[in-house]
């Protein structure tokens, strides 16, 4: 009997991905950094480092600290700015056959809108991911992600500025993530992704100083996976738009947990640092799992958690 290969493709609103595995913003540079190690065209999609209107220098070092099973970072959204991105980074990305999703961050609503407008008719961009959740900058970012009214305002502003699919990236540093997810859904988001990093801290006891120059940073990696999974499960049960899961995914088994909890796709972040081939292994692992369980596509898996 001939067995057909399982169908790994997924849809995030109007966006079609050949498989559900995306690279998380800030952990994959602008793609080119991994070109020698990863078959970029096999990815579900690439989400690039967060962009602001103008280039940002970021925070002073030290910017990263390892914690047990985790990584604390306070990069401070260092990036080349939207114009340099279009001129210098996008030409390489355009040559790939996978969707490129641009992660954006503004200091105020006007900046989010301007960024969206600037990117709206640029060739080679498949969707925008709106970061309202970065914990490492003073203005913008997380301010919008922790208040459901502000989150909705940002979403409406970006929605009005582009026809591209928009994904709102939520912060876990809130008491009620469901209310924020519902607010951005109502404001016109095509999807939500969660989670961004959890605010954390590490101290050098000999020096009696914080280990990060910025004092606090965002925690990522396997240490945050249970929190991310719980939030994905809560949100997926409460909204009708697709949820993209992220947080501590290292292996195919981790990714499958998120799909079962209700995520339609996943993002792989810190794992890229530990194992540059992580995304490739996760894609193969999901395919193998579907075949082994006689499932013909991802749809039959998403949200199929048995309670």
């Amino acid at each position: 009997m001939k067995k057909t290969n399982p169908d790994l493709s997924v849809r995030i609103g109007l966006l079609r991905l050949q498989n559900p595995v995306l690279t998380a913003s800030g952990t994959f540079g602008y793609g080119q950094e991994y070109a020698g190690l990863v078959d970029l065209n096999r990815l579900g999609g690439i989400i690039v480092k967060g962009l602001s209107l103008n280039p940002r220098p970021g925070n002073m070092p030290p910017r990263t600290v390892e914690t047990p099973c985790g990584l604390l970072n306070a990069i401070g959204l260092q990036n080349v700015g939207v114009e340099n991105f279009i001129a210098d980074k996008l030409p390489f990305l355009r040559k790939l056959s996978v969707p490129v999703i641009v992660n954006i961050l503004g200091q105020d609503i006007k900046e989010y809108r301007k960024l969206a407008e600037r990117l709206s008719n640029v060739e080679g961009i498949a969707a925008l991911e709106v970061n309202i959740s970065c914990p490492n900058v003073k203005k913008g970012g997380v301010v919008f992600g922790t208040d459901y009214k502000a989150a909705a305002r940002v979403t409406r502003a970006v929605r009005a500025a582009v026809r591209l699919p928009i994904i709102i990236k939520l912060s876990p540093n809130v008491t009620d993530i469901v209310s924020i997810a519902r607010a951005v859904e109502e404001a016109g988001a095509d999807a939500v992704s969660l989670i961004n990093t959890l605010t954390g801290m590490a101290i050098d006891v000999e020096a009696r100083r914080p280990k990060l120059h910025n004092v606090t940073g965002g925690l990522s990696g396997p240490a945050i996976k249970p929190v991310a999974l719980r939030m994905v499960w809560q949100v997926a049960g409460a909204v009708n738009i697709p949820v993209i899961g992220c947080g501590g995914i290292m292996t195919a088994a981790d990714a499958l947990e998120f799909l079962l909890a209700g995520a339609s796709a996943v993002q792989v972040g810190t794992a890229n640092f530990v194992n540059p081939r992580a995304t490739m292994e996760i894609i193969s692992g999901i395919e193998e799992y579907l075949a082994r369980h006689d499932l013909k596509d991802i749809k039959s898996l998403v949200g199929s958690l048995i309670l």
């Binding site: 950094e33 030290p62 990263t64 390892e66 990584l71 970072n73 640092f273």
Partner: protein, 257 residues
Amino acid sequence: MEQGTATVLENRLAAPGVYRLRIEAPALAGAAGPGQFLMLRIGQTLDPLLRRPFSIHAVHGSRTVDILYRVVGKGTNILTTLRSGEGLDIVGPLGCGFSWREESPSLLVAGGMGIAPLFFLAQIIAKNGVGDKTSALIGARNKTELLCVEELKAMGLQVQVTTEDGSAGKRGLVTGLLTNRVAALRPVIYSCGPYPMLHAVASLAMQYGLSCQVSLESFMACGLGACLGCVAEMKNGDLVRVCKEGPVFDAYEVAWK
């Protein structure tokens, strides 16, 4: 640059608290330049999570690469338990290393583990037949922590040694030997070691108007230029990636503090 599994050939104590790890890694041996580094995956568990950066210490023939490492914490402690025959996941070679200029005399200045990448540079210099025109200044805390001195001499280099406690060579810091050398030789300086030492070497080089390349250290999460975690500040105000634009920098470009 590539990711692959190397085979451990040997993992031996070279000095108190310092090990030499010899691996078979043909792709790495063929592609590596002095001053470049690799990222080692230590253990199979999630703690320690991140890879650890180590300089390429030496290349023997077309297949064998050495790493010289000091045991300082969790990861390097685990590294000491590696036995010959075991596999080791490596990514490399990474970063921009030393650019050696044959036409000028070279002066290698190493402090402590700073000898790790400079030894590979010395190998290249000796291979080009100018080992005897090359000087190396090596500093350590004490006699037992001096590394690679005999090997460098055997390669024909003129080696001078300082120790902080005076148990070998001249007492004091390696920079104490530097002034005479630079005034007489006007060499190109290649240096690696603790930050204060590099700062002193760079200041002296700049005072005499000499070319100087320094290898900087930084915490590295990815080693690939993707996370932007490892940045160092340059004089023009830019924060640049030590893993990508470095780890070797022109001493004149670094914003020394």
